[in-house]
């Protein structure tokens, strides 16, 4: 968990690999068996040319990053803002889940940290972009 943060800091990077097994497990967990995700033959005929991962899986990766950085503060008032799905994740993709601190403020006696977030594919293409606002349990002497 982060002990302090200042504008420009990079959050720790999380790396993930997407494969069809992970997509099928997500389908079973979420109940979303849309054929675009689970049926390779069907998906080949669509404009995507193959199966793609469920969008909320990427949200789960962003949540993992924010939990790692802010712990329980994330689930008590954390916000994912302007989350945009800009490219599909496909089996075989290796992705980096990353973030940059944009602002640190004391609001009402609590630290609030604003971050830019991204899920980026191995070729540099961004699959998901967005921002997060998190409550942080920094001491009064945060390094901002």
């Amino acid at each position: 968990m982060l002990k302090k943060a200042k504008t420009g800091d990079s959050l720790p990077v999380i790396e993930k690999e997407i494969d069809q097994d992970r997509i099928l497990r997500w389908a079973r967990t979420s109940g979303d068996f849309n054929r675009l995700h689970v049926d390779p033959e069907y998906a080949k005929q669509t404009r995507f040319g193959g199966t793609i991962a469920h969008g909320p899986m990427s949200l789960a990766f962003l949540n993992e990053l924010m939990m790692e950085c802010f712990g329980i503060g994330w689930v008590r008032g954390g916000k994912l803002l302007d989350i945009r799905f800009t490219a599909p994740l496909r089996p075989g993709d290796k992705v980096r889940v990353s973030g940059t601190v944009m602002q640190v403020q004391m609001i009402g006696g609590k630290w609030s940290v604003e971050c830019d977030l991204a899920v980026e594919k191995q070729n540099g293409e961004k699959a998901v972009t967005g921002r997060a606002l998190a409550n942080a349990e920094f001491g009064m002497q945060n390094g901002e």
Partner: protein, 138 residues
Amino acid sequence: MRHQEEKPELVFVDLPVGRTFKPLEYPVTPELVQDFIETVGDRHPLYDEGLAPPGLAAIYARLSYLQEHTMPSGGVLAKQVIEYQNPIKIGDTLKVQAKVIESYEDEKKRKRVTFLIEAQDQKGMPVSTIRLYAIWPK
């Protein structure tokens, strides 16, 4: 659960502002949490202390308005906003309910629908609020 192919499609005219879908309730079992964290690969130590991953409140967001319908192909999830209010704990029962808060054709005649999807626990405490902005295919 009815098989996806047996349900009618949910089309734009079925989505006027104010339409509220029936709540979807589900228990946060240890098995569900285990499936979730193994699928995501998120092994935060707080999950060993009874906390559930916050993303669990969102996994059924889409299903909350597709309980009796399928999604027509060609839709686009344009944007999503999620606010977390309170932790989810293993053993909770979550109630997720979707409501249409915007439904209009934009200047390019694209059918835009915004859902407000609220999740609360068995005590009525809010756990998350999701705004899901979609471009509907038909």
